[in-house]
Amino acid sequence: MPQKNIQDDATPLAFENIELSDVIDAPALQEMMDDYFTLTGFAFAIVDMKGEVLVKGGWQDICVKFHRAQPESCLFCHESDIYLSSGVAPGVFKTYRCKNNMWDIATPIMLGDRHVGNIFMGQLMFDDEEPDYELFRAQARRFGYDETAYIAALDRVPRYNRELVNTAMSFCSKLAQMISKSNYNNIVIAQTLTERKLAEDNLQQKNAELERFTYTVSHDLKSPIITIKGFTGSLEKDLAKGNYERMAGDLKRVSDAADRMNDLLRDLLELSTIGRIIKTPEVVDMNLLVADVLVQLAGPLKNRNLTVAVQPGLPEVLCDKRRMVEVLQNLFENAINYMGDQAEPQIQFGMREDNDVKVFFVKDNGIGIDEKYHKIIFGLFNKLDANSEGTGIGLALVKRIVEVHGGRVWVESKGEGMGSCFCFTIKEAQQ
């Protein structure tokens, strides 16, 4: 099968963009039509709607060496190929005089209900009429042909019986219909397969995501259970032995583990709602949004004697405002919490353009992140320091929100002690 769009590309072109050359196997058809020419002696061509000749054979000198060789008369050939041949129903053929006064017969090739090309037979004369030599001499003068050679070429044009030509054309017409139908079916099948493949890939991705999610959740929720059961077991033993000294500590461990489970469940609920209840995106002024977030973080910022430098004149973005607040909150909180013992702590918020893509960033001069951890920090419940506060959901949440908005998030940091720059993209509001 020839169809490059069906076989070679992962996604076939949209129907309206498919051209005849995409769906026919021109070399195979050429071989077939060569045989047809040997059998019948009829010149033929398969031409697309731009006038491009894809398959041809048996062409007459009068067409090749004169009409198509001279720019002005060649224009007539193209016009004839495209316009005079139009308006023919599938399975039917039309006999007409081309603008250079040769007989041509055309039958359309359809793709569904789209006319994508024609099969032509022609460059012939009928045996029941005499050529109008005066007309052709006038044509020779008009286009500057060598008149004698031109008339000689005209005399070489074969003359056929109309009925024979009609039978041959009926064959071509049926062939065209067959090509149309089989190609149309192939495309429909290919598109269905592609759609199915996309749906399958999507499903597979969702399944993998779900599997990772279940794995993480089952592991992380089981951990506190082991702690609770382990220390209550130990407490029972100690109680039986009258060994009271570590009881208070163990009870605290049990209580903290229960709190941790509670936190995990709360965060999971939060994460699971993001994909679903994201509101219709609205146009949000990033300047105002950042200002809001910084007001909310006034306490922690003041505690660490921090100010945030915000780049003026930020653009508007299209987003779910409440979710975008969460993104910024998390990124600022991380910048604050991982400042380390920096003597001159600084946080910046701004926007830069990378290859015309607007990239927002929260940049700090805190403890930084080694390059090898740049990916895993965005994983659910992944923490670089097991004993730091929180469940480790913050960046997973940020990632999910940004991705649901069709954006991307990543970190840039030259390593420990070098500060971090968290970057994300988001759709800009159209003016």
């Binding site: 794995y215 089981k222 951990s223 082991i226 059961k229 382990g230 033993k237 320091d385 097991a386 004993n387």
Partner: protein
């Protein structure tokens, strides 16, 4: 234990409560002289290779047993295992995966990377105690090792 040499365990565990449970039980049964605790995969590798903080081999000897959790900060437990088992010097070190995960894939991967044993942390305290006692005695007392 057999010949009175000090026996050491490297415990790689990011959950401090679980680490305390392990150490409390190990102490009770007196199976090891020293348990070194590291809280992430990177620290485990640094310890095993004697790098950075762990450069002094006298203070931080190659352990006789490693109890390794899987889901760890920085470097995953499976990656730690893989590195140990592809390192000629470290390869004989018995690595027991001690994890909350009973995911088949984790177990399959652990054995793929030549874990010596794979056990999940029992929820029940008595089982937890017994497991650690059995593990300690088997790997430190019964098992023969090149160092």
């Amino acid at each position: 234990m057999m010949n009175g040499e000090p026996l050491t365990i490297l415990l790689v565990e990011d959950n401090r409560d679980h680490a305390e449970l392990v150490m409390r039980n190990m102490a009770e049964f007196q199976v090891a002289n020293t348990i070194f605790l590291v809280e992430d995969g990177q620290a485990a590798l640094d310890y095993l290779h004697g790098r950075g903080t762990y450069a002094d081999r006298k203070q931080f000897p190659i352990p006789h047993l490693m109890l390794l959790d899987l889901r760890l900060p920085k470097v995953d437990g499976l990656d730690v295992l893989k590195e140990v088992k592809t390192n000629e010097t470290l390869r004989p070190l018995p690595v027991v995966i001690l994890t909350t995960s009973d995911a088949e894939r984790d177990m399959a991967m652990a054995y793929e990377y030549h874990a010596n044993s794979y056990v999940t942390k029992p929820v029940n305290f008595d089982d937890f105690s017994r497991l650690l006692k059995d593990l300690g005695f088997f790997w430190l007392a019964w098992n023969k090792r090149p160092w």
